[in-house]
C-alpha cells in the first residue's frame, strides 16, 4: 500500500474537492467541516465521476403525529456526495448509496502527518 500526498494541511478549503490520480485510479479527496474523506472517483451506477459533483445534505420529510405532511428539512449532519451524471447519492461518511446499501463508493484512508495529508492507495 502506498501513501500518496494530497496536499499540505490547510491548503484545501472546506467543501472543496481535489482529484488525485495515481496510476489508473482517480481518487476524490473531499474536505468537509475540517475533515478529509477519500473515495474512488467512479460511480458504481454507470461509471460517472462521482466525486466531481456537488455535496448536498440529505433531506427528510416532516410528518406530524396525525400523519399529515408538514414539509421537509435538510439533515445537515448527513452530507451526501452526489454523482454529477445521474445524481446517485452516497453518504459522505461511509460512501454507501442512500437507496441501496449494496452500492458503495470505494473508500480510501486519509492520514495527516507532519502538516501534510496523504491518501492510502
Amino acid at each position: 500500500m502506498a501513501e500518496v500526498l494530497v496536499c499540505r494541511n490547510g491548503e484545501m478549503k472546506d467543501d472543496t474537492v481535489r482529484i488525485v490520480k495515481t496510476g489508473d485510479v482517480e481518487i476524490g479527496v473531499i474536505r468537509h467541516e475540517g475533515k478529509y474523506y477519500a473515495y474512488r472517483n467512479l460511480c458504481p451506477h454507470m461509471g460517472g465521476p462521482a466525486c466531481e459533483g456537488v455535496r448536498m445534505p440529505g433531506i427528510e420529510e416532516l410528518i406530524a403525529e396525525d400523519k399529515t405532511y408538514i414539509g421537509q428539512r435538510f439533515v445537515m449532519e448527513d452530507m451526501h456526495i452526489v454523482c454529477p451524471w445521474h445524481s446517485y447519492e452516497f453518504h459522505l461518511e461511509t460512501g454507501i448509496n442512500t437507496c441501496d446499501k449494496a452500492l458503495r463508493l470505494q473508500k480510501f484512508n486519509v492520514t495527516e502527518k507532519n502538516g501534510e495529508v496523504f491518501v492510502s492507495v
Binding site: M46, V54, Q72, P84, W85, H86
Partner: protein
C-alpha cells in the same frame, strides 16, 4: 408673433420615469382638482417577481426555500405549470456546467462542436438529434404558434446543423395539431440532407386515428421515412399528471403514458394494417411499458375482436414489428424481468440504443454492452445495426 417655448425629449437616451409616463394623468388630476378628493384604489399591483430572491428568503421550509431560490419564479419557475427541476436543484451538476462550456471558433454552429464532443466521448458514430422544450410544444392551445415554431426549428436545423455535419441526423418535428401543415412539412423537408424521419411529439390531444392524418402516414410510408413518437411530459397540460406533486412521479408516468395512449390507439384502429410498410419508432418511454401494453391489449382483443375488426393478428404481434428506443432502460435490480422484456419485444431486431444525452437520465452504450444475456450480434444490432437498417443510414 409670440415665441413658443420648445422642449425636446430624445427617447432613445431618456431613462424611464413613471412621472414622465403618467404626465398626462397628472395633468388630468390637476385640471379636475382631484387632489382635493379622497381617492382610494382598491386594486393596485406591484411585480413581486422583481423581488423574488428576497421573498424566497422568507420561505420557512428550508428545502422549499433552496428550490425556490434555485428555480426562481415566473415562466419556467417553481410555481409554473411548465416549471420543473430536472437537474434536482443542481445535483445533476453537468447540465448547468455544460452551458458555460467553451468551444473553439468555427464556421459552423456551436451545437455541432458540443454534440461531436460528447458523441466522441461516448463512442457514438451517428446521432438523431431532437429538441428539448419543444417536445412539449404540442400542448400549446395556439396551433399557429406550433406550426410556425416547428417550421422555423426544422428549417434552422437543416440549414445550420444537418447541412454541415453528416454524423448528426434528425427526425423533423411534425406540428400534429395541424394535419395539413404536417403534409407540407414532409413535402418541403422530407428530402433534405440529414432528415431520416418525422416526429410526433407525444404530448398532444389529437387521436392518431383521425382521417386527417392518413395522408401524412401514406407520404411517410411511400418515402420509407419512419414515423417517430417521441414521448415527453405535460405536467401543466394534463389533468391526470397534474395530480403528481413530484417531478419523479410525473416523469415516470408521463413519459410512458403518452406513448401507451398513442400505441393503443394505433393498434385498435388497425393502422399497421393500413400502412404495413410504415415503420414506427417509440422513443424515450423506456421498455417496461411495452410488455404491459402487449399483455393488456392481447387479453382484451381475445374477448372483443369484433370491436377491432381491422386487426388480423394479436396486438402484441403488431407491436413486435415496431421499433423502440432503449433509454431510460429500467435496469435497476431485476435483470430477469429485463431479459424477459427483451425477448417479448424481439430486441435483437427491434430495439434501438439511445442515450438521451445530455438529459438527466442518460444511458451510456455500456447499459446495452454489459447485459450478460445478449450475444455479440445482438449487442451490435441494438447499439447500431438496427438503427442503420430502420433509418437507411
Amino acid at each position: 408673433m409670440d415665441t413658443l417655448e420648445t422642449r425636446y425629449r430624445d427617447l432613445s437616451v431618456e431613462e424611464f420615469d413613471t412621472r414622465t409616463l403618467l404626465a398626462n394623468a397628472r395633468q388630468q388630476a390637476v385640471q379636475r382638482k382631484l387632489d382635493d378628493f379622497l381617492i382610494v384604489d382598491v386594486d393596485a399591483h406591484h411585480y413581486e417577481t422583481e423581488s423574488f430572491a428576497e421573498i424566497a428568503d422568507f420561505i420557512e421550509d428550508p428545502v422549499m426555500r433552496y428550490e425556490a431560490k434555485y428555480q426562481g419564479y415566473g415562466g419556467q419557475g417553481i410555481s409554473s405549470q411548465r416549471g420543473n427541476y430536472q437537474n434536482l436543484t443542481g445535483r445533476v451538476a453537468r447540465q448547468s456546467q455544460a452551458r458555460k462550456e467553451k468551444t473553439p471558433a468555427a464556421d459552423h454552429h456551436r451545437d455541432i462542436e458540443v454534440t461531436k464532443k460528447w458523441m466522441d466521448a461516448i463512442s457514438i458514430d451517428i446521432c438523431c438529434m431532437f429538441p428539448t422544450p419543444m417536445l412539449g410544444l404540442g400542448t400549446t392551445p395556439r396551433v399557429d404558434v406550433e406550426v410556425s415554431l416547428a417550421r422555423a426549428y426544422n428549417r434552422w436545423l437543416i440549414e445550420k446543423v444537418l447541412a454541415h455535419e453528416p454524423r448528426i441526423k434528425a427526425s423533423l418535428y411534425l406540428p400534429f395539431n395541424d394535419p395539413a401543415a404536417c403534409v407540407k412539412m414532409i413535402e418541403d423537408f422530407g428530402d433534405a440532407k440529414g432528415v431520416i424521419g418525422f416526429t410526433v411529439t407525444s404530448p398532444h390531444y389529437k387521436g392518431v386515428y383521425d382521417n386527417a392524418y392518413m395522408k401524412t402516414y401514406a407520404m411517410l410510408e411511400e418515402r420509407n421515412l419512419p414515423l417517430i413518437f417521441h414521448s415527453a411530459i405535460a405536467w401543466g397540460g394534463d389533468q391526470h399528471l397534474q395530480l403528481c406533486n413530484r417531478f419523479m412521479a410525473v416523469h415516470a408516468l408521463g413519459f410512458t403514458w403518452f406513448n401507451i395512449l398513442h400505441m393503443t390507439n394505433w393498434i385498435c384502429n388497425a393502422l399497421p394494417e393500413r400502412f404495413p410498410k410504415l415503420k414506427t419508432v417509440w422513443i424515450e418511454s423506456g421498455l417496461a411499458w411495452i410488455p404491459f401494453v402487449m399483455q393488456r391489449l392481447d387479453n382484451e382483443y381475445m374477448m372483443r375482436s369484433s370491436e377491432v375488426p381491422g386487426l388480423k393478428k394479436l396486438p402484441s404481434d403488431y407491436m413486435r414489428d415496431m421499433y423502440y428506443s432503449s433509454q431510460p432502460m429500467e435496469a435497476v435490480k431485476n435483470r430477469e424481468m429485463l431479459e424477459c422484456t427483451f425477448k417479448m419485444i424481439k430486441a435483437d431486431t427491434q430495439l434501438l440504443y439511445s442515450s438521451d444525452y445530455p438529459h438527466w437520465d442518460m444511458d451510456l452504450p455500456s447499459t446495452i454492452y454489459d447485459l450478460p444475456f445478449l450475444d455479440e450480434t445482438a449487442k451490435r444490432n441494438i447499439l447500431g445495426g438496427n438503427a442503420k437498417r430502420v433509418f437507411n443510414l
